[in-house]
């Protein structure tokens, strides 16, 4: 049985960073320079947590997790922990999560439109990590 890492733990973060930089090339990321912070509300244990990505020219230069205020980002996506967990596992699509209003996006919607497919690629990689939710 494959070893599982805990969702949003530092081990999970390390795996995310490794996989993103090996499985998604800068070309696939359209040489994007941007940042996004996901804010997970009501995580197990009662705290809020965050996952933060920084991309420079399509390369993931910073992947952070934590339980404080995340760094400033171009986009901030806020929602309940359970919803993000379902999203990562592919149980719910990002479109449904956003269009139902359960996830709240902050940032330029016009720019976000261009990034929607890239976000799905990132999510697929996250979903491939054996994870304990």
């Amino acid at each position: 049985m494959e070893n599982k890492v805990t969702y949003l733990s530092s081990q999970w973060r390390d795996e995310v960073e490794k996989r993103l930089n090996t499985e998604i090339t800068p070309e696939k990321m359209k040489h994007l320079t941007s940042s996004v912070a996901y804010v997970y509300l009501d995580c197990p244990g009662g705290k809020d947590k965050f996952l933060y990505f920084k991309m420079d020219n399509g390369k993931f230069t910073k992947v952070l997790v934590g339980d404080s205020e995340p760094p400033e980002a171009d986009f901030r996506v806020t929602g309940p922990y359970d919803l993000f967990a379902n999203l990562t596992q592919g149980k719910i699509s990002s479109q449904r999560a956003l269009m139902s209003g359960k996830l709240k996006l902050k940032g330029s919607m016009v720019k976000a439109l261009k990034l929607a497919s890239l976000a799905d690629r990132i999510n697929k990689v996250l979903g491939s990590i054996p994870t304990q939710y």
Binding site: M99, K102, L105, K106, S108, M109, V110
Partner: protein, 408 residues
């Protein structure tokens, strides 16, 4: 890419200056944020056509930010002087709906404090006015709980009343374009070309010619180019005639009222014909019409008012025996796209209608608009032309000759 403001351009408008003047007025009235929603405000501030429900948030200092439906925001940014960071899209997504995104944006500007927020409310007979709806007002009030919402449309109304040179030049250009449309229509209906032609075809001929000449839209919400033939020209009080598929007939009056838009300035000129053959009675009506239009055009100047013009013109019509055929109003307001109908400020005896005692000032632009209707005789004639108010006279911007022509 937004366009770069070029003060040497004939059509240059000092948009940053406009924003500064709004902000100065906001400061005087202790308004922290101005939330514009009217089409006229969006045009006047952004210099881009915003056909979807849009809003502009003007902070106390710095650049305004336009919010429009996400499918159109990039296009607006491309055509505006504002960059893409100041033209944002809203969408049916969590946090991205228009109430949430704008109220969050305003809260960020207020930095956690409560503020006074100017918004735009009122009423209009013009469909596309764009006042904040009751639902929007309640939603913003709830989302911005603790802040005070104040109706403040008078700020933009006052500042946009007198036209700057770039705006006037844009209006002149739009009128030159309308003249091209009229030339094309006259050419098409002449020499028997009118036979079998419909009102809609005439509207299309004008549209094509004006588009070739640089118009981007037959902007009027009254159906684009308004064409009325035969009895339709003479419907009582009929100053709204979207073109129909009615075919022209010999002896018909034909009213051609066409519209062009150039850099959000609006061309609007109506010209009249009689098809094939005119009766003596039709000529009598036509001469009456020409005489009263000529009089009114000579009367406009700084200092006169809508009421003084109406009184003088109606007295003339009464004296000549045709007052019963005149619609007793001789103008409507005009500005950049979305600014149509009311003249001047909302300060008349009837809320949100033209103040009859409004004293015209130099460099106001309005549409001289006159409607002559005789339903019993199935004839009507219309005059519209943007005019620039000058110290001792007015400048009629469309130069297509004032006459009622018989087309063989």
């Amino acid at each position: 890419m937004p366009y770069v403001l070029d003060p040497t351009d004939l059509y240059y408008i000092d948009f940053p200056g406009r924003v500064s003047r709004i902000q100065k007025q906001m400061a005087e009235e202790k308004i922290d944020i101005y939330l514009g929603s009217r089409l006229r405000t969006l045009s006047w501030v952004s210099d881009a056509f915003c056909p979807w429900r849009s809003y502009v948030v003007i902070p106390a200092e710095g650049l305004p930010t336009v919010f429009s439906f996400v499918i159109d925001a990039a296009r607006i940014a491309d055509e505006s002087w504002l960059d893409e960071d100041h033209v944002l899209g809203y969408a049916p997504m969590g946090g991205m709906d228009q109430i949430t995104i704008i109220s969050d944006f305003i809260k960020d500007l207020l930095k956690g404090k409560k503020g006074r927020i100017g918004y735009e409310s009122g009423m209009s007979n013009y469909l596309a006015e764009g006042n904040l709806t009751h639902y929007e007002y309640e939603s913003f009030r709830d989302a911005l709980s603790g802040s005070e919402l104040i109706n403040a449309h008078h700020i933009v109304d006052r500042l946009s009343l007198i036209k700057d040179q770039g705006t006037i030049n844009r209006f002149r250009k739009a009128s030159r374009i309308v003249d091209e449309g009229h030339k094309a229509v006259k050419e098409a209906i002449s020499g028997g070309g009118w036979k079998g032609m419909t009102e809609t075809e005439i509207a299309g001929i004008a549209a094509l010619a004006m588009r070739k000449a640089g118009s981007v839209w037959e902007w009027s919400f009254t159906g684009g180019n308004e064409i009325a033939s035969g009895y339709r020209s003479g419907l009582a009080g009929c100053a709204c005639t979207p073109a129909t598929t009615r075919k022209l007939k010999r002896g018909d009056p034909l009213m051609v009222d066409i519209h062009a838009m150039y850099k959000l300035a609006l061309g609007d000129h109506a010209h009249n014909y009689i098809i094939g053959h005119e009766t003596k009675r039709q000529r009598w009506h036509a001469d009456n019409f020409i005489s009263i239009v000529s009089l009114v055009l000579k009367t406009y100047k700084a200092g006169v008012s809508p009421l003084s013009i109406a009184e003088e013109a109606m007295a003339f019509a009464e004296d000549k025996g045709f007052a019963e055929y005149m619609l007793p109003g001789f103008e409507h307001g005009i500005g950049m796209m979305g600014d149509e109908w009311r003249i001047g400020m909302n300060e008349g005896p009837l809320p949100y209608w033209t103040n009859p005692d409004h004293a015209y000032q130099e460099n106001e632009v309005l549409i001289c608009a006159m409607q002559y209707s005789c339903p019993d005789e199935k004839i009507g004639l219309r005059y519209e032309n943007p005019i620039l108010i000058l110290k001792d006279k007015c400048e009629a911007m469309s130069k297509f000759g004032l006459r009622v022509e018989v087309i063989e």
